[in-house]
């Protein structure tokens, strides 16, 4: 390091943070970006080369911790210190169009993103968090790990679901239920199989995304789902609740909630597809709450909301 660096000496290098828990598919994404057809010279920082699999014919040169590709991309192993690695890339600033940092599986991506916010020679584009749509419920159920996953999800400006087909609705719906329960309004997409599309997402500016999602408290990005959620202290009539949940005109695909009933009971209610299950619980609730999700345009949050309010108004038992 030298003292000759001046602040803002060059045009800042755009940086994207790619995060996600172990096994979420970060390396697969990095592999496809490195060898992808995007005509950009991308520097990629990875934790280790262990799983990097690049077609040997694309490799220009390699050493212990750097693989230089013929297409101008370069993959560097972070080794002990991410800051060192970023400093090394910035010393070769003119050789790259973009910096992609793959965080470790347990890193807090917000902290990594802050490096690009603070460093005048970097510009933060966005923080993308990959989530394994199959395994995330297991991770959430592990008290040693769930806060790590939630921290990652909370720092994302875009969540990319992996290991899932965009047409498989169950996993996506469950994930969205979780986001709603967490009170998060992060856009979610399924990781595109096409390299170029994937790259487009990573190369997008977060500002462009956030301005497009200002309207609704929860809005899905590039996904077919809409949701509507509700919390209220009113007691609910059980039969009317069941009628609401099974009303096919509302096109509710997934519903999950806890309700204070008019007869004094408390129930948990789930709907998946056309199947509705409920169970009594000893929980004392301050309020009833639920979230409903469905495919647009068949499912309309506004209609659902209106139907619910009408039902509530008819079934309210006024407390003394």
């Amino acid at each position: 390091m030298t003292a000759s660096l001046d602040a803002r000496s060059t045009k800042p290098l755009p940086m994207t943070v790619v995060s996600g828990y172990l096994g979420a598919g970060k390396t697969t994404l990095v592999n496809s970006i490195l060898s992808g057809d995007h005509s950009l010279r991308i520097a990629v920082l990875v934790n280790d080369f262990g799983e990097i699999a690049i077609d040997e014919t694309l490799i220009g040169a390699r050493s212990d911790d750097v693989i230089a590709l013929a297409n101008g991309c370069m993959c560097c192993q972070i080794g002990g210190d991410l800051y060192d690695a970023i400093d090394r890339i910035l010393r070769m600033r003119e050789r790259f169009d973009h910096l992609l940092v793959e965080t470790s599986g347990v890193a807090d991506p917000a902290k990594v993103a802050q490096i690009a916010v603070a460093e005048p020679d970097l510009e933060l584009l966005r923080t993308v968090v990959l989530v394994d749509a199959v395994n995330f419920t297991d991770i959430l159920a592990d008290p040693r790990l769930n806060d790590t996953l939630l921290r990652q999800v909370r720092s994302a400006d875009l969540i990319l679901l992996t290991k899932i087909d965009a047409t498989t609705t169950a996993g996506i719906a469950d994930f969205q239920i979780m986001l709603v329960e967490l009170g998060l309004s992060v856009p979610v997409a399924v990781l595109p199989k096409d390299d170029r599309q994937a790259w487009q997402i990573l190369n997008e500016r977060r500002t462009a995304v956030s301005s497009s999602k200002k309207a609704a408290p929860f809005r899905v990005h590039r996904l077919p789902f809409e949701s509507w959620s509700w919390t209220g202290t009113e007691r609910v009539d059980f039969d009317k609740l069941m009628a609401f949940a099974s009303d096919s005109a509302l096109n509710i695909y997934r519903l999950k909630g806890r309700f204070r009933l008019a007869d004094g009971r408390t129930v948990l209610l789930h709907k998946v597809g056309s199947e509705i299950t409920f169970e009594d619980t000893d929980e004392t609730l301050e309020a009833s709450e639920f979230v409903a999700i469905g495919t647009k345009p068949d499912f309309n949050p506004e209609h659902t909301g209106r139907a619910w309010i009408r039902m509530i108004q008819r079934s309210i038992i006024h407390q003394p």
Partner: protein, 542 residues
């Protein structure tokens, strides 16, 4: 025939149960030939007598089981901490005990720097200056045109002057979270966390890690060790690239280099199979004073930084749980593989959830690939309860506890991190010994100053600065504490065959003390003056 020298001391504490105390030690070829009285060397032929240690107490050279080479690198910069500290050359740096003192100290330091150099200081801790928080206006009084940077002792914060803010391009329009502000929106000079400090550090060329790899750092490290009686120390996390190994081999080989170094390879940056392969290569490079072959893993962060992983009920005052450096499943993969490959692991675990994850992993490793005498060591292991110590014993693990924390952070743990109940078992040396877990205790220098007698004093007295005793029943005896800083630590490094006691066949490594630590009042253990060391028969008086 080789020269034999018999040294006379007022007392020799050998740590050898066959002959716990003696007055003379005979040295030949850098090894202990005999121990006993004035005639101990008689059966071995000619010898000469040397009375230089006549009025001193000799102990086995102390073994620091957890420290970092960085200890020797810090002194390239100006010390600005609250407590007095001794640098590797023996110069005492007075503690700077108020803001005026800090400013005066910085002005003095600036005056002696070349005009083109920024002033970099370290060791500052605002916790000791309860008045106004240090900010850039104070530091602007030190200099308006040269960057002034004070790194806080935790390395997570720095306070800088306006000239330094300008170097990083920070102003009221900066968005970064870690750039703290005055009420009027202008940066106040405090930069929080590495992301905010990084732009300034790279522009001013502040690089502690690079410094720690320089030969000057190795020399400073050895000097600092010698001043506190340490003759063998770990450097407990090192990437160990080839060029550094060559340098370490060359520097430690010199007769005037006064320390055996045991670097631990970072086991987290490669796949465990590759780590095992690398370790096998490294072992062959070991020399008399450089021992390669141990591996470091890290499960969590630190408790005082709220990054340690705690079991329920977690941190007091509503602080969220810490972070995994290596999550449990990955840790288990690494541990099972390295264990199978016969590698000795030193595993950083601060919080009790982290120590539990390590125990689970070792348990699986032992079930799948049973090994005797592996001596894997849980490092820090500050919150382990008795159930965990019982498991350590059952699984053959050693514990190297961070006893210095009791003094340096004990009150913080009681009041701000884990609360009274768990603070009482902080670094539970008593429990370790009750369950027959092989015990070492350490400083983690430069996190706290290296000083085995201070660490031992902590384990014996368990005092905090506010006068609390953290867990009467976790105190250990002076004798047990002296064992933990000699043979105990040597055992965790599998070096107890060569060092850790004064007995025939072992290295002639001694700590030279002015008083007898076994007879001074236990509360004065830390004040026993160290006069120097002997390493492989070479003398290093302070």
């Amino acid at each position: 025939m080789a020269d034999t020298v018999v040294y006379r001391a007022s007392k020799i504490i050998t740590m050898d149960p066959t002959l716990p105390e003696a007055t003379h030690v005979a040295v030949r070829d850098g090894l202990v030939l005999a121990v006993g009285d004035a005639d101990c060397a008689t059966p071995w032929g000619d010898f000469r007598r040397d009375d230089r240690y006549r009025d001193t107490v000799l102990m086995p050279g102390f073994v620091e089981g957890h420290a970092h080479m960085m200890t020797g690198a810090m002194w390239a910069y100006t010390y600005a901490g609250h407590q007095d500290r001794i640098d590797p050359d023996g110069r005492k740096w007075e503690g700077l005990t108020d803001i005026a003192g800090v400013m005066a100290g910085l002005k003095r330091a600036l005056a002696s720097l070349p005009a083109d150099k920024p002033l970099i200081a370290w060791g500052f801790d605002p916790i000791f200056l309860p008045t106004e928080r240090l900010n850039r206006r104070h530091l602007d009084e030190v200099s308006t045109d040269r960057p002034v940077v004070i790194m806080h002792s935790n390395f997570h914060l720095m306070t800088v002057n306006s000239a330094a803010l300008a170097v990083a391009g920070y102003d009221r329009n900066t968005n970064a979270v870690g750039v703290a502000r005055f009420d009027d929106g202008e940066p106040n000079g405090e930069l929080q966390e590495m992301a905010a400090m990084f732009p300034l550090m790279r522009r001013l060329g502040v690089d502690f890690r690079a410094l720690a790899r320089a030969e000057s750092a190795m020399r400073g490290f050895a000097n600092s060790a010698m001043r506190v009686g340490v003759t063998t120390s770990t450097d407990l996390l090192n990437e160990l690239p080839e060029e550094d190994i060559a340098k370490l081999v060359a520097v430690t080989a010199r007769d005037d280099f006064q320390l055996r170094i045991v670097p631990a390879l970072n086991g987290m940056t490669q796949a465990p199979e590759d780590v095992a392969r690398r370790v096998a290569e490294l072992r062959k490079r070991s020399t008399d004073k450089l021992r390669l072959g141990i591996v470091k893993l890290m499960a969590d962060g630190s408790i005082q930084g709220y990054t340690g992983r705690l079991k329920w009920p977690g941190y007091i005052l509503g602080h969220p749980n810490g972070i995994w450096n290596t999550p449990p499943d990955r840790l288990k993969e690494q541990i099972v593989c390295l264990h199978r490959e016969g590698v000795q692991m030193h595993i950083h675990v601060n919080g009790d959830e982290a120590s539990e994850a390590a125990l689970d992993a070792i348990e699986e490793a032992q079930a799948r690939h049973p090994r005797f005498d592996h001596r894997h060591t849980l490092q820090h292991c500050q919150m382990a309860d008795d159930s965990q110590f019982r498991r350590m014993a059952a699984l053959g693990l050693c514990a190297n506890l961070f006893a210095n924390h009791i003094w340096y952070f004990g009150d913080q743990h009681y009041e701000r991190t884990m609360g009274p109940n768990r603070a009482m078992r902080l670094d539970a040396c008593g429990s370790a010994l009750r369950h027959d877990v092989p015990l070492a205790i350490h400083s983690d220098s430069p996190v706290t100053p290296m000083g085995p007698l201070h660490v031992a004093w902590c384990a014996v007295n368990r005092l905090t600065p506010s006068g609390r005793v953290l867990g009467e029943d976790q105190k250990i005896s002076v004798k047990a504490a002296l064992h933990a800083i000699t043979l105990g630590a040597a055992f965790t490094l599998k070096l107890d065959r060569e060092i850790g006691s004064i007995e025939t066949g072992k290295k002639a490594d001694f700590a030279v003390l002015e008083k007898d630590p076994l007879t001074v009042p236990a509360v004065e253990l830390k004040d026993v003056p160290v006069l120097g060391t002997v390493v492989g028969g070479h003398h290093f008086p302070i």
